[in-house]
């Protein structure tokens, strides 16, 4: 208990509260001196809340000690290159420079955020089970719906960072990331961002959806500003994490690991990091302009002052569309990474799969306005954006065809990670196939802002990242802990969640085509959707139960899991050639790459050779 109370996390939260209060008091004092109204509906005025939130977020990071070494360097003091972590669980609640600890910190934070976001979904899904308002007010419904969106998005971003942080240095034979302190900083800005996002609940909520379109977002309660601030703070994590990862892959690969001998996941991680490094700024900018419009009366998006609400949508989607690929590319990379292990065959067309990741990332920058086909932007612009959008289908298709060719004539084994790989492919396929009608403009005029879209992107998000994320957790859990996850519980998790999820999203598409708008708290019983919604709600509960089983499995496997220190999946990847859990500085003996990563079925081949002479061959 004492270890918990003195941890960096608790210290940071305390500092955040104090910083928030001091910042708010500072602005309140100035307002008082200027003769302005010092208090408002939520005690402090909006400028006081916003300034306090900024000070609070910075205080959190300072309070944890994630910036201490930088302060010392600024003063000319030396610090040790490495910092040793304590052996127990408390290292996960304190600032660590070890990429594996940070990776697990990210992953656990992601799971917590996703559970919170999922809880919000269950609340309003229950409300939707029947037409009419059951137990939520309209404002509460909109707030939960909006928070579900943004908490899940941040959750997935954090989950992506978790998997990349944990795996990338290990896979390329590095002892850590390029910039371990920046890495720690990138993680420690996430908890204050999560606090900011959740604080919207206490400050009137926000009824705009996660898109926060003005003018609606200009009129929303103070909670809106906490949402903007939370996203801006979380954005730092993405930008700096992307920078760190690119530097790591470019500079720290082991001897012999040329571009086309990297594990395929590295290509996906690079493609994702290019997007987070260069696009995240735009959503921060868009939200900051609305913040200034609210606080300072600047009319960026106010037509009465010569502003343009559509400009916001361009800025917003310039990040928020590529962001989808930030989620999906690592997920698809995980699928490509795990599949050869369980099929015992090389990944079909490695170079094409690698290039398709970069292709998706680059084309993804040119498609943002397909979210705006009905927005009232220049109507001729819709045509070029349709061409670029449909183009995404080409590299995505390459991935699907290559996976099928990889499976063909393999010796397929299907333990839990492989189940989630296959489930991810099927679910992502449905998400992908429901995409083209949104791209061919005429059909999108009907589909836009309906439940069809809701079903479409839940399929892409779940198939593209959530399923692979589960696969990765089941697969690398032994690497992180030296124990295996319970296989039976894993299978129950999969077989409960997958059919329920498919039912949920297919019914979403069904009612969407028939005329169900998205983001509505209530629907007309005359539409005849009550039964569909009831089934969707039941499916939602089944998913929640499956997740609960997964969490129980994590707990029980951590406590009593079967010991697994060896190469449990019989993989060629370097991290499995050393005992689990991974040593603190990864490889005690360095290795060099001497062959192709996925040459399963080629007798006598090896991917890596350790300096002491041991090789990874077929086990």
């Amino acid at each position: 208990m004492k270890k918990f109370l003195t941890s960096a996390l608790v210290r940071g939260l305390l500092w955040q509260a104090i910083g928030w209060l001091l910042g708010a008091l500072f602005v309140t004092g100035i307002r008082f001196l200027m003769g302005l109204n010092p208090f408002d509906q939520f005690f402090f005025t909006e400028p006081a809340w916003v300034f306090g939130a900024l000070v609070g977020a910075i205080s959190f990071v300072a309070g944890t000690g994630a910036m201490t070494d930088w302060f010392k360097w600024a003063k000319g003091e030396e610090t040790p290159e490495h910092r040793e972590d304590p052996p127990g669980w408390e290292k996960y609640l304190n600032v660590s420079l070890d990429h594996k600890v940070i990776g697990i910190q990210y992953t656990v934070t992601a799971l917590i955020l996703m559970c919170v976001g999922g809880l919000f979904a269950m609340i309003f899904r229950t409300e939707l089970a029947h037409s009419g308002l059951q137990f939520l007010t309209l404002q509460e419904y909109n707030t939960f719906m909006s928070l579900h969106g943004i908490v899940m998005i941040v959750g997935i971003l954090v989950g992506v960072a978790g998997v990349m942080n944990y795996l990338v240095p290990m896979m390329i034979g590095a002892d850590d990331m390029s910039f371990p302190r920046l890495n720690a900083f990138s993680f420690w800005v996430v908890p204050p961002a999560a606090v900011l996002l959740l604080s919207t609940l206490a400050l009137g909520g926000f009824d705009t959806g996660w898109t926060g379109y003005p003018p609606l977002s200009v009129r929303a309660p103070v909670g809106m500003q906490m949402f903007f601030m939370g996203v801006a703070v979380a954005g730092w994590s993405s930008i700096l994490g992307g920078l760190n990862l690119i530097a790591t892959v470019l500079r720290m690969r082991t001897k012999g690991m040329t571009a086309f001998r990297m594990p395929i996941f590295i290509w996906a991680a690079i493609a994702t990091s290019i997007i987070t490094l260069t696009a995240t700024q735009l959503i921060g900018l868009a939200f900051q302009l609305v913040m200034f419009q609210r606080l300072l009366g600047m009319g960026f998006f106010d037509p009465a002052k010569g502003g343009n609400p559509i400009l916001f949508q361009h800025l917003f989607w310039f990040y928020s569309h590529p962001a989808v690929y930030v989620f999906v590319l690592p997920g698809l990379g995980l699928i490509s990474e795990l599949m050869p292990v369980f099929v015992r065959k090389p990944l079909f067309g490695y170079r094409f799969v690698a290039m398709s990741s970069l292709g998706i990332a680059l084309v993804g920058f040119l498609v943002w306005a397909h979210h705006m086909f009905t927005s009232g932007m220049n109507e001729y612009l819709r045509v070029p954006f349709m061409y670029s959008t449909l183009l995404v289908a080409v590299p995505t298709g390459v991935k699907f065809f290559s996976w099928i060719a990889t499976l063909w004539k393999g010796k397929i084994e299907a333990p839990t990670p492989m189940l989630f790989v296959v489930g991810g492919i099927v679910v992502f396929l449905l998400g992908g196939l429901s995409g083209p009608p949104n791209a061919t403009v005429a059909t999108d005029l009907h589909l836009h802002d309906t439940y069809w879209i809701v079903g479409h992107f839940h399929d892409t998000m779940f198939g593209g990242y959530i399923f692979p994320f589960f696969a990765a957790i089941y697969y690398w859990f032994p690497k992180a802990t030296g124990k295996r996850m319970n296989e039976t519980l894993g299978k129950i998790h999969f077989w409960l969640m997958t059919p329920a999820f498919l039912t949920l999203t297919l019914l979403m598409m069904r009612v969407g085509l028939l005329g169900m708008r998205r983001r509505v708290a209530d629907y007309d019983p005359a539409l005849g959707f009550d039964n569909y919604h009831l089934i969707m709600t039941i499916a939602g509960y089944l998913i929640a139960i499956a997740i609960a089983i997964f969490l129980y499995n994590l707990y029980i496997s951590l406590r009593h899991g079967e010991t697994a220190t060896g190469n449990v999946w019989n993989s060629r990847s370097p991290e499995w050639q050393v005992p689990s859990p991974m040593p603190v500085h990864n490889y005690d003996v360095p290795f060099e790459v001497v062959g192709e990563p996925y040459d399963y079925g080629l007798p006598g081949s090896a991917y890596v050779r350790f300096a002491d002479g041991s090789q990874s061959t077929k086990h």
């Binding site: 007010t137 309209l138 909109n142 705009t208 898109t211 379109y213 003018p215 609606l216 009129r219 037509p303 009465a304 015992r344 065959k345 090389p346 079909f348 067309g349 490695y350 094409f352 009905t374 009232g376 109507e379 045509v383 349709m386 449909l390 183009l391 080409v394 298709g397 699907f400 060719a405 499976l407 063909w408 004539k409 393999g410 010796k411 397929i412 299907a414 492919i425 396929l429 196939l433 429901s434 083209p436 009608p437 791209a439 061919t440 403009v441 005429a442 059909t443 005029l445 009907h446 836009h448 802002d449 085509l513 028939l514 005329g515 708008r517 708290a521 209530d522 007309d524 399963y600 079925g601």
Partner: protein, 337 residues
């Protein structure tokens, strides 16, 4: 070779079963506009490809999982096949061509839905949180959109506050409505019937309830309705007083937030409001007399009733309404006891 033949046959079977099975479920609402026929034509082309690709991926996937599964006791690896450049190029180039064809078809069908009839009927649409107002060229205003069948209509739409969107599922077309700008919605109804326009761009708390009836009738019925509306508007304006007030509160969408039956919506109900004691958000209590009601219409933020949000009601009614119209509305509220 045997595997390829089996999978090929299964792909065709699954493709046809998926396409015809799902189409039989009637995926789309009825086609009530000329534009909906174009949209559904494009949808159907998309859907054929969707069903085919679904079969093309899922069939070999499931087939492989079953046929190429690891047998008990077998510890050997699969065949060492690293790839096939010709195959990779094939499944890059064929989708690329397909995509270009579909982009062309998408542009073509978009153009068809935008086809202009110079004799189109023009109606002005005003959207606000959370109601619709339709202004007809004959000079009257309605909360219902009546349209004659088989004649193109252009809705010139604008918003008084946030972004809204006009969508009638049976018409298929959707267009956002922006503050400070006019956007157009062009449609040719082809099926007589009652439909609903729904706001489909999240516009705040009561977004779900921002709907209005859309009634497509024969030209003769439409003309009769227009005539009756013109007569009613003239009569009410001439008479003034509560009758005109009742017409005005419908016309300006007041009833989207204020009820006349005591129900609490976004704004306070008018039932029993006149001469009642109103508790304000700043703690004061005032009497809802005539002056209070006029002030609340003209400058809604002056006094906020306790428990209700500020900055919801438009502040434009002072200029949108004449003094006598405001008096008529107040006189109508006074009758609600």
């Amino acid at each position: 070779m045997r595997h390829f033949v089996i999978v090929g046959v299964l792909v065709i079977i699954v493709f046809l079963a998926t396409y015809f099975g799902l189409t039989a479920l009637k995926l789309m609402p009825v086609e009530a506009s000329a534009q909906s026929i174009v949209v559904d034509w494009m949808w159907n082309l998309d859907f054929v490809v969707m069903c085919f690709l679904f079969a093309l991926i899922v069939v070999p996937l499931v087939y492989s999982l079953i046929v190429f599964r690891r047998r008990k006791g077998d510890t050997s690896d699969g065949e060492h096949i690293e790839g096939n450049t010709k195959l990779e190029i094939t499944w890059t180039v064929i989708p690329l061509i397909t995509v270009l064809v579909f982009a062309y078809l998408g542009a073509y069908s978009l153009g068809e839905t935008m086809a202009v009839d110079p004799n189109a009927l023009e109606i002005s649409v005003t959207a606000r949180q959370w109601s619709w107002q339709f202004d007809y060229p004959e000079g009257f205003t309605s909360n219902e959109l009546h349209l004659p069948v088989n004649r193109q209509v252009v809705l010139n739409m604008t918003s008084l506050d946030v972004i809204h969107a006009f969508w009638v599922p049976q018409f298929r077309i959707r267009q956002d409505i922006l503050p400070g700008r006019v956007t157009n919605y062009r449609i040719t109804p082809i099926l007589i019937g009652n439909y609903t326009v729904m706001c489909s761009q999240l516009c705040g708390t009561s977004h779900s309830y921002m709907t209005a009836p859309v009634i497509v009738t024969s030209q003769a019925d439409y003309d009769a309705w227009v005539q009756s509306q013109v007569t009613a508007a003239q009569a009410a304006a001439a008479a003034g007083g509560p009758a005109n007030g009742k017409l005005l509160v419908q016309k300006y969408g007041c009833l989207g937030c204020h009820t006349t039956d005591g129900t609490k919506l976004v704004g306070p109900t008018w039932l029993g409001l006149y001469q009642s004691q109103v508790k304000l958000s700043d703690g004061r209590t005032v009497t809802a007399d005539q002056a209070y009601l006029v002030e609340s219409i003209v400058s809604p933020s002056a006094k906020i009733v306790n428990g209700f949000p500020d900055n919801v009601m438009p502040k434009t009614f002072g200029t949108a309404l004449t003094q006598s119209q405001i008096n008529d509305i107040v006189s109508y509220i006074e009758t609600l006891k």
